[in-house]
């Protein structure tokens, strides 16, 4: 009994027939040959991505500049805040009615604050959260201070990046529950190889990260249609909150999504890259470029798309 047998046994073995002897063992291991693990990924990244390029994409402001220069669509920048004194004295009137505040070097969607609109006509009356609750100016000031002190960036200093609130394409926001759905596209050089639609859920609290409980839906590269979806350990056909059918759903502007994602690698210098693309009503925007994209994507794309495990060898 190998460990692979155990692992598969726990999930209910997939090989329906009863191949015996070596044949059976081969079947068990074959699937794992096509899977990339963290060890292989780290080695692959070390070989493909230079430290300079990795440093570039951890800086959202710089990454946006680089992408904009070569014509890749990115979200607008309202302002960049790096002045503690300004942050302390801010009255609220300086900022627009709605905005998204991000730590420039934040990871995994941590430290993001969203103002959906003004609470009242008064400029110092604070904002509304996406949930409808109040977002007071004092809280924004405190949050900003922590953010500038590097609270969400694993360091001791950071900048705050303010962007307009993005809205997903109606086709996608219909499927999703709160938050902003996006498409993660993994590319080598300028070739998209895997794609996954990520939909926030009630459990993920509006975040599109799989390990917070968002839905991950594998997308077929040619057709732009969802082939399989998972939430955590469970395979699902419908969104757990909206109950919309996911399998078969088509992503709008699919060719443009792939084109925008494919240009991220060459623009930033990364040869193995995970691009996060938001599809809005007017087309795709690059939200973030990852030098170390996660591997969970394989659980919804393996068998349909090129195998990452082969890539690493």
């Amino acid at each position: 009994m190998t460990t692979a047998d155990l692992a598969l046994g726990g999930q209910g073995s997939a090989s329906g027939a009863e191949p015996e002897g070596r044949g059976r063992r081969w079947t068990m291991w074959r699937g794992y040959d096509e899977v990339m693990g963290l060890n292989a990924r780290d080695q692959h990244i070390a070989r493909s991505n230079t430290t300079a390029a990795i440093r570039l994409v951890t800086d959202k402001v710089l990454t946006k500049q680089v992408l904009r220069r070569v014509g890749v669509p990115v979200a607008d920048t309202i302002t960049v805040i790096d002045d503690r004194r300004w942050a302390r004295r801010m009255s609220g009137a300086e900022l627009p009615d709605s905005w998204v505040m991000k730590p420039n070097r934040g990871r995994g969607g941590n430290g993001i604050l969203i103002a959906a609109g003004r609470m009242s006509a008064r400029p110092d009356g604070g904002w509304r959260r996406t949930s409808g609750g109040p977002l007071r100016v004092a809280h924004v000031r405190d949050h900003l201070r922590l953010l500038l002190d590097g609270e969400f960036s694993g360091g001791y200093h950071d900048l705050a990046l303010l962007e307009p609130v993005l809205r997903a394409h109606v086709e996608l926001s219909r499927l999703s529950y709160q938050g902003l759905p996006d498409v993660r596209v993994i590319c080598t050089d300028d070739q998209p190889i895997l794609a996954m639609l990520r939909l926030p859920t009630g459990r993920s609290n509006g975040r599109a990260n799989l390990h917070y409980g968002a839905v991950g839906a594998g997308v077929d590269l040619d057709s732009g249609r969802v082939v399989a979806a998972r939430v955590g350990r469970h395979e699902v056909a419908r969104h757990p909150d909206t109950h919309r059918r996911l399998v078969g759903a088509r992503i709008p502007f699919w060719d443009e999504v792939l084109e925008a994602a494919a240009r991220c690698g060459p623009a930033t210098g990364l040869r193995y890259v995970g691009a996060d693309v938001v599809v809005t009503d007017s087309g795709p925007l690059i939200l973030e470029v990852n030098a170390r994209p996660g591997l969970q994507i394989q659980n919804v794309t393996a068998g349909d798309s090129p195998a990452l495990g082969v890539l690493a060898r």
């Binding site: 963290l38 590097g150 399989a228 393996a302």
Partner: protein, 331 residues
């Protein structure tokens, strides 16, 4: 380790100090009572010790050391505040070679080092700094294996190694109870500090101060652990604080369940490392051929680090992907 037996048949196993500066052997008065001896009835002798001249009762016992049985007349004193409850003087150590500064060398019945299980619970520093230094590469190798081959994730990469060393020196029970209570205390402080928007650096500073305060208080109040070597107890302060900090960060990012799981895994790895450090054969290697041992561990770490395959935990994590790939779920 020695076994002290009374004529009545009772016996205890204790850590003994072999003191070449003392002429006669000595045991603690509470220990004498446990053995069923009656010091009040016994004849007394005048003993000149570092504390001055004292009149102490003398009792007859049998001391077993490394397989030898030594009938001895020992005096009874209040050794509660001293590092060991049993002291063996020159009169009773004829025929032995004394290794200066080393401890846990023999068992009562055999001339081999005591087992991990016997030593790990004792509240006495068990390893010399030199021995620890030679075993550190082995701990590093274990961490590399656990992370790259098994896929275990702990709070702080090498935090468990330092906690494990702390446990070796402080005794497992004391160490574990301390760490767990410091974890809980840390979470409590975290809640308070979060409310007042204290930045990260300051939080870590406050945490170190709190951990140090608690440990200092415990050291000065606990009489039985009075000799916990200060350097051994000092290492875990900063480490414990950073591990607690990692616990907060994990809690924030992944929620209470993941944080609790990682805390438990961290403690388990620490205990594993403490056990490894005290394994007699490993201690033997580290004490006799420290440089060779360290180099061997270094080479094996190199070999282990070159592993590029799936981690054990990933067999489960990517089972759906493997199944899809193997059966060609596609159209």
């Amino acid at each position: 380790m020695v076994r002290v037996s009374a004529p009545g048949g009772e016996s205890v196993e204790e850590l003994a100090l072999f003191d070449t500066g003392a002429s006669s052997s000595s045991i603690d008065e509470d220990l004498a009572e446990d053995l069923g001896l009656d010091p009040d009835d016994a004849p007394t002798v005048k003993v000149r010790s570092s504390l001055g001249v004292e009149e102490r009762p003398v009792v007859g016992v049998v001391i077993q050391v490394a397989g030898n049985t030594i009938p001895a007349r020992v005096n009874v004193a209040d050794r509660d505040e001293l590092s060991t409850l049993v002291l063996v003087g020159r009169e009773d150590m004829a025929g032995y070679q004394v290794s200066v500064g080393r401890s846990f060398l023999t068992r009562p019945d055999e001339a081999i080092a005591p087992s991990t299980a016997e030593v790990i619970f004792l509240e006495t520093p068990a390893l010399l700094p030199k021995t620890l230094l030679a075993t550190l590469p082995l701990c590093a190798l274990l961490v590399v294996l656990l992370r790259l081959w098994v896929g275990v994730s702990t709070l702080g990469t090498f935090g468990p190694v330092l906690l494990g060393i702390g446990y070796v020196q402080s005794g497992l029970m004391v160490g574990l109870v301390l760490t767990v209570s410091l974890f809980l205390l840390g979470l409590l402080i975290q809640v308070l500090l979060r409310r007042s928007f204290v930045p990260r650096v300051a939080r870590l500073g406050i945490l170190i101060a709190v951990v140090a305060t608690v440990l200092a208080q415990l050291q000065s109040s606990a009489s039985s652990a009075g000799d916990v070597a200060s350097w051994g107890a000092a290492i875990p302060v900063v480490v414990t604080a950073t591990v607690i900090e990692a616990l907060w960060a994990t809690w924030d990012e992944h929620g209470a369940r993941v944080a609790a799981r990682e805390a438990i895994v961290t403690l388990c790895v620490s205990v594993l490392i403490a056990a490894l450090l005290l394994t007699p054969s490993i201690r033997h290697l580290a004490e006799t051929v420290p440089v060779h041992f360290a180099v061997a561990c270094l080479l094996w770490t190199w070999v282990a680090a070159s592993y590029k395959g799936l981690r054990l935990s990933e067999l489960l994590r990517f089972a759906p992907a493997a199944r899809r790939a193997a059966t060609g779920v596609a159209s």
